[in-house]
């Protein structure tokens, strides 16, 4: 006989299902219920740094867009500080660093406006390259998928990033790099997420 450990077990995940919008984005489901929905403004009006737009599509194993996805973004501000007691300092008033978006029901396109994050501190030493943490849920996804978006124009920081360097297959690292483009004078980063296939996006067990 040994003593038994008294840890609890984490509640098991279940899919968010096709109607996730009702709970997390009711306006998209087709009705108005809350004073304000959460997650529509990531950076707030006072955020420092470069204003950017991030856009993409989620593609399934048949090559088709997934049209009922909900994504959440979690990022640091331009100084690399997260809006959290352990985030490394103070952030601008109104900077939350968190947002949620849904894909367009017809096209599968998603996008959000934010500021480009700065380098964040590494686990113990050094820094991590600027990145946005993404969490993806949908019908058919049994447990939320975690990935990271890095920026094409941060090649030097990306080359030294401890998480990118953890990915043994160098060619897979490219799946986490958003492509920088310009549209009407605005910076747009394109980040397509592939759930399966040769170019499957790297997903993390965090």
């Amino acid at each position: 006989m040994t003593q038994s450990l008294d840890y609890l077990k984490e509640t098991a995940s279940q899919t968010a299902g096709p109607y996730v919008h009702i709970g997390l984005a009711p306006g998209a489901a087709g009705f108005d219920i809350y004073r304000q929905e959460l997650g529509w403004d990531i950076a707030g009006p006072n955020a420092r740094g470069e204003r950017i737009r991030v856009e993409g599509i989620v593609i399934d194993g048949t090559g088709s867009p997934v049209k009922d996805v909900l994504l959440e973004a979690w990022q640091a501000n331009a100084d690399g500080i997260y809006a959290h007691p352990e985030g490394g300092g103070e952030v601008e008033e109104g900077f939350r660093g968190w947002g949620r978006v849904i894909t367009d029901f017809a096209t599968g396109e998603w996008g959000f406006d934010t500021v480009k994050p700065g380098c964040t501190r590494g686990r113990n030493v050094g820094t991590q390259a600027p990145h946005i943490n993404l969490w993806i849920v949908a019908r058919g996804i049994n447990i939320g998928l975690n990935t990271r978006l890095y920026f094409e124009d941060e090649a030097e920081a990306n080359a030294a990033d401890p998480v990118l360097n953890l990915i043994e297959w160098e060619r897979r690292r490219a799946t986490l790099i958003a492509r920088r483009t310009e549209r009407d004078g605005q910076t747009v980063y394109r980040f397509d997420i592939r759930l399966q296939g040769e170019e499957e996006t790297v997903f993390f067990d965090i």
Partner: protein, 242 residues
């Protein structure tokens, strides 16, 4: 001297796998490569925080939050309550819990739901609340109905409420579904059965809780939610360059 450290690793044998051929939609939406395991950095041990500016007092009352004045939705009036805990058994205070569900007839208020059961004009089907300082939360609602869905030809979802929970770190983010004690549809549901461990399924089934019922008004179900726990670092582990 201890300080809070990393979150315990997720038990991937306890959670459902990404791929399950009997839940057909998962087949083309499940990553085929293994997940890359990360030790927590600041990006994972932090997460969004919410306060009372984000949530209104009526948001957790699904009987009232979409009803016309003086009216209420059709269905069994229920209370769902419980605590959000971590794996160490400690309460998770001030965390956002969001719920959504079908109405008593099994119909969702969603432009993509075409089930022939009617929309209830007095029922929206979503709610949200913050846990209190003891990790306690509650909602008032009507019991959702079972409904058919396209998987095999004759599949029916057991009555369920979807829940989204944040915790205090992005690593704790969780979406799950709560089922009701005694529902015979639980055993045959392909979505429930994506979970391999019977004990993990049992943890998703809320118990009828007559002690918390309001006599002559509402019956209660108790549903505790457990998020990942966190290590207390007694010894430093500072790998060079890590």
């Amino acid at each position: 001297m201890t300080k809070p450290g990393e979150y315990y690793q997720r038990d991937r044998m306890w959670h459902p796998p990404a791929y399950d051929k009997d839940y057909k939609t998962s087949v083309t939406r499940s990553p085929q490569y293994s997940l890359i395991s990360l030790q927590n950095s600041v990006s994972e041990i932090t997460g969004p925080t919410f306060g009372h500016n984000d949530v209104d007092p009526l948001d957790n009352d699904l009987i009232k939050n979409y009803a016309q004045p003086g009216q209420s939705p059709i269905g069994e009036r229920i209370i769902v309550h419980g605590r959000v805990l971590d794996e160490n058994g400690r309460p998770v205070p001030n965390t956002l819990v969001e719920v959504w569900q079908a109405n008593a007839g099994g119909r969702y208020r969603h432009k993509k739901d075409t089930y022939l059961a009617p929309i209830d004009p007095n029922f929206g089907g979503c709610g949200r609340t913050l846990t209190d300082e003891n990790g306690y939360y509650f909602f008032r609602t009507v019991k959702p109905g079972a409904y058919p869905w396209r998987n095999w030809v004759n599949d029916w979802r057991p009555a369920h409420i979807h829940l989204s929970i944040f915790g205090h770190a992005f690593a704790q983010r969780l979406i799950t579904q709560m089922y009701f004690e005694g529902d015979p549809l639980i055993a045959t549901c392909p979505i429930v059965n994506t979970i391999r461990d019977k004990a993990a399924i049992g943890q998703l089934i809320a118990a009828l809780d007559k002690n918390a019922s309001v006599p002559l008004d509402s019956i209660a179900y108790k549903f505790d939610i457990v998020l990942r726990g966190r290590r207390s670092t007694m010894f430093e582990n500072r790998l060079e360059g890590n």
